[in-house]
């Protein structure tokens, strides 16, 4: 590699580059490779390479595929639009103005991540369907809206828009009023300077987070499965899941469909890359910035109401539906006082309950995944953004791939890869296989967050460190990492939240006899104990929300406000 040929930036550290490469190979490339092999050789599961491509082409020329792919695109774009409409105004208000109770809104808007999507979808169904909670309370039901393509987009938008909200409000804040103030000085109005300066400068954050939403929504199984199947709206991921979950099993077919899904996400990814590389978005230059937020004045009340309304839809309503089901002794009994009680909670928290074990397992797994994925993600993003050479594109593409791979397919890839008879030792059938699966599925999140934040980091800070005599590794640890830490904390909280409630992959690769939160909830639903399942879901949401919040407060206290973005 031609080191130092272009002397403006840092070249990155070779050690970090190799950690990124080996990490991604182990966690992402190996399972993906086995999925490709499975798509080509239908008998691969039993160790045979017979009849290559026999199922591959049959799946690709299936006329249903166009419908599935079209629906997937429609859902992805629709969800992205819903998420953008919900998130951009809120993020701008939050970052540029003094919104009363801002921290509380942040906390409330974090909760949608903590609610498993299939649970949220079930909550919406039980609230809006005829004789649902809404009709029991107000006499109206919204079934026609709920069971429609628009309904699915809206609900998925509500589930995912906080990704955009958090990234954008961070970005807007980093840009600060500073740059737009320059515009104001030169005579631009408030709106004009927002549209011409602040919004364009926040493109990396917006593009990265919308891409995440797109990828999350084309990969999401729970909502389209719960709502779409009834109206015959099938997407690629439900097609893939059905091929794996419904006997007779079609592993090669589902692997082939996954490749279609992955290529869709890769196209979106190239688009985002192209958008980002056209301009220079570096805004953190080492000069101290003042965070002076404007007052809202007469708009204080309307803005607070807007925050309250969105927070209620995204967080309040699903949580209340979960709680209502958890408190109901029977579902058919409805919301009558005589039917409500804490029976399910006492059963869940009772001595020797399996629920507590599952909770503990998930919390340990979630924390470990968050730490490891955060570290690997930061290193990967750093190697991609600040490194040189062609390998970067491969690394970047590899790191986004799992985002569009349905969890169930990752699970199959992992089983195929790690249960080979010739492996002398293997993590398969131990909890470590879940760790591998979670890191693989969730790695795109920290990578995206770190990439967006690194794109805004000028090279001169790191270069000064090098001039002052620190090695590349030390410069990364002492300069770069602390600067991207706020974004990484957000990303790691996300990873923790999703990892501690991941269902589809866990269900398939969980070691024999090992339970996680999601598996426990699923098994309760499966044996008809919806109330107990919902009680567990409620406790899980509570815990996965409180732990990160406590962590953030601790960090804020420890850093005494010196780390940007944690205020």
């Amino acid at each position: 590699m031609a080191r130092g040929a272009v002397a403006t930036g840092a070249e990155g550290s070779a050690t970090l580059k190799w950690i990124a490469i080996i990490g991604l190979l182990l966690v992402v490339a190996i399972p993906c490779l086995f999925i490709v092999v499975q798509a080509i050789f239908p008998e691969f599961g039993s160790g045979s390479f017979a009849a290559p491509f026999s199922v591959f082409f049959k799946t690709l020329i299936d006329p249903d595929l166009f419908g599935l792919a079209g629906n997937t695109l429609l859902l992805g774009v629709g969800t992205m639009v819903c998420a953008a409409i919900l998130a951009v105004p809120l993020a701008a208000l939050r970052a540029l103005f003094r919104v009363p109770g801002a921290l509380i809104w942040d906390a409330l808007l974090l909760i949608p991540f903590m609610i498993p999507p299939y649970i949220a979808a079930l909550g919406w169904i039980m609230t809006l369907q005829p004789r649902g909670y809404l009709e029991q309370l107000t006499g109206i039901h919204l079934a026609p809206l709920l069971f429609s393509v628009t309904g699915i987009m809206l609900i998925m938008g509500l589930n995912t828009f906080s990704v955009v909200y958090f990234v954008l409000s961070r970005t807007f804040e980093t840009i600060g009023a500073r740059y737009s103030d320059v515009g104001r000085v030169f005579g631009a109005g408030q709106w004009r300077s927002f549209w011409r300066i602040t919004l364009p400068l926040s493109m990396p954050g917006l593009a990265a987070s919308l891409l995440l939403v797109f990828a999350m929504s084309i990969e999401e199984y729970g909502t389209p499965a719960a709502l779409g199947r009834r109206i015959g709206f099938e997407v690629l991921v439900t097609g893939i899941e059905n091929r794996i979950s419904e006997w007779p099993i079609d592993l090669p077919g589902s692997a082939t469909l996954s490749l279609v899904l992955v290529s869709m996400a890769l196209v979106a990814f190239m688009l985002q890359r192209w958008l980002l590389t056209r301009r220079d978005y570096r805004i953190v230059g080492g000069k101290p910035q003042a965070f002076d937020k404007k007052e809202l004045g007469v708009w204080t009340l309307p803005v607070s109401l807007l925050f309250a309304f969105v927070a209620f839809l995204a967080t309040g309503l699903p949580i209340l539906a979960i709680l209502a089901t958890a408190l109901s002794r029977t579902i058919s009994g409805g919301l009558k006082p005589s039917n409500l009680g804490l029976d399910h909670f006492s059963e869940l928290l009772g001595a020797g309950s399996e629920g507590l074990v599952a909770l503990g397992n998930s919390l340990v797994l979630g924390t470990t995944t968050a730490l490891l994925a955060g570290l690997l993600g930061a290193i990967t993003a750093y190697s991609v953004v600040k490194g040189r050479g062609r390998f970067r594109i491969v690394l970047d593409a590899l790191s986004i791939t799992p985002n569009s791979l349905p969890g169930v397919v990752v699970a199959v890839g992992i089983i195929l890869a790690w249960n080979q008879p010739w492996l002398p030792i293997t993590p398969y059938n131990t909890p470590f296989i879940l760790l591998l699966a979670y890191i693989c599925i969730l790695l795109p999140q920290p990578v995206r967050y770190a990439t967006a934040s690194l794109h805004q980091l000028g090279d001169n800070l790191e270069a000064s460190a090098r001039v002052c005599g620190s090695g590349p590794l030390k410069a990364f640890v002492r300069i770069v990492f602390p600067l991207i830490l706020p974004s990484m904390v957000t990303a790691m909280i996300l990873v923790f939240a999703v990892a501690s409630r991941e269902l589809v992959a866990s269900l398939l690769v969980a070691p024999v006899g090992f339970q996680t939160i999601a598996v426990f909830i699923w098994q309760q639903f499966d044996q008809g104990s919806a109330g107990l399942g919902m009680a567990m879901a409620f406790c899980a949401v509570l815990i996965t929300t409180l732990i990160p919040l406590a962590l953030i407060s601790l960090l804020r206290w420890a850093s005494k406000g010196t780390v940007a973005g944690l205020r």
Partner: protein, 311 residues
């Protein structure tokens, strides 16, 4: 990172050697049943049974992905078709348990025997304000307009068997009547039952008897109705994989499931025991009028026929 993966590997090694002497069972739901069976088996024999429980589909997917290096010794599925399929692929160990003597012939084959049997019923919400249905065709009447759900036969083995029998017996007009009456196809068994429990719908066409009886026992206002014109049953095969390294203990597990105690555990979750000499307080196989599946077309044709009506 590196140190951790070493630890992972070391632990993996430990776990895999420790698990060797135990019986590993992959089972479809209900979870309570396999949990009780595993606990009872260990108590009786001192052999540990490790359980992986999921849906039939997920169990099959895991078995298929593991095919080059199988982990399971014993498999319990909710669909008899999986057993005939495995037998055709020569994956099953032939074993006739001494406890299987009173299991009727149609509930056993070489390599598999029924653990228990589920029946297909109408699950009707008693508070729905609709008249109590007595037969399948009642649900096509105007009283049940837009109030009926069906599990998808692609997702539910039981519903599939019923649709198959309807096609074999020229009863597809009932399915057409349901469609014209606004019935919706709603995923797997639970997805079809949930709207009926809350009252959004009044009845599940092709509900599963033990799930419905279990819900009723919990206090839900729901009733399992065995239709007059007859129904089908879904036997749940239990089988030993030929690849098992622990066949003797696997056989003991089958013996236990078919023992008086094991069959009582089956009955406890409202399934019909496979042994005819176990007396339980619920309609048993001998009491049911069964529709024949003779002359039904192949699986793809059955599903295509269903799709032609409902899409």
């Amino acid at each position: 990172m590196k140190r951790l993966s070493f630890a992972a590997l070391a632990l993996g090694l430990l776990a895999s050697t420790a698990a060797h002497a135990d019986v590993t069972v992959y089972s479809a739901g209900p979870g309570a049943l396999i949990k009780n069976l595993a606990a009872g088996f260990t108590e009786k024999t001192g052999i540990k049974a490790n359980v992986f429980q999921a849906t039939t589909g997920k169990v099959m997917a895991r078995l298929e992905a593991e095919a080059s290096n199988p982990v399971a010794d014993v498999v319990v599925s909710a669909s008899w078709g999986t057993a005939t399929d495995f037998a055709a692929k020569d994956l099953l160990l032939a074993y006739e348990s001494p406890n299987a003597e009173t299991v009727p012939d149609f509930l056993k084959m070489e390599g598999a025997v029924a653990q228990g049997v589920a029946g297909l019923i109408i699950a009707w919400n008693t508070e729905s304000g609709t008249p109590k249905p007595a037969d399948w065709s009642d649900l096509a009447k105007p009283e049940y307009k837009d109030l009926v759900t069906l599990p998808d036969p692609a997702a539910s083995g039981g519903t599939y068997t019923l649709v198959e029998a309807f096609i074999a017996n020229d009863m597809t007009d009932v399915l057409q009547g349901l469609k014209d009456n606004g019935a919706i196809v709603a995923g797997a068994n639970k997805a079809a039952l949930n709207p009926v429990l809350q009252g959004a719908k009044a009845a599940v066409f092709a509900g599963v008897d033990y799930i419905t009886m279990g819900a009723a026992a919990k206090g839900e206002t729901i009733e399992a109705i065995f239709p007059e014109s007859g129904t089908v049953v879904a036997p749940r095969p239990i089988m030993i994989l030929k690849s098992s390294q622990n066949q003797d203990d696997a056989k003991k597990f089958i013996d236990y499931v078919l023992s008086e105690e094991g069959q009582q555990a089956v009955a406890k979750v409202n399934l019909m025991p496979s042994r005819t000499d176990i007396k339980v307080d619920r309609p048993l196989i001998g009491d049911l009028k069964l529709l024949s599946n003779e002359g039904a077309p192949a699986r793809d044709d059955v599903l295509a026929g269903f799709k032609a009506i409902f899409n």
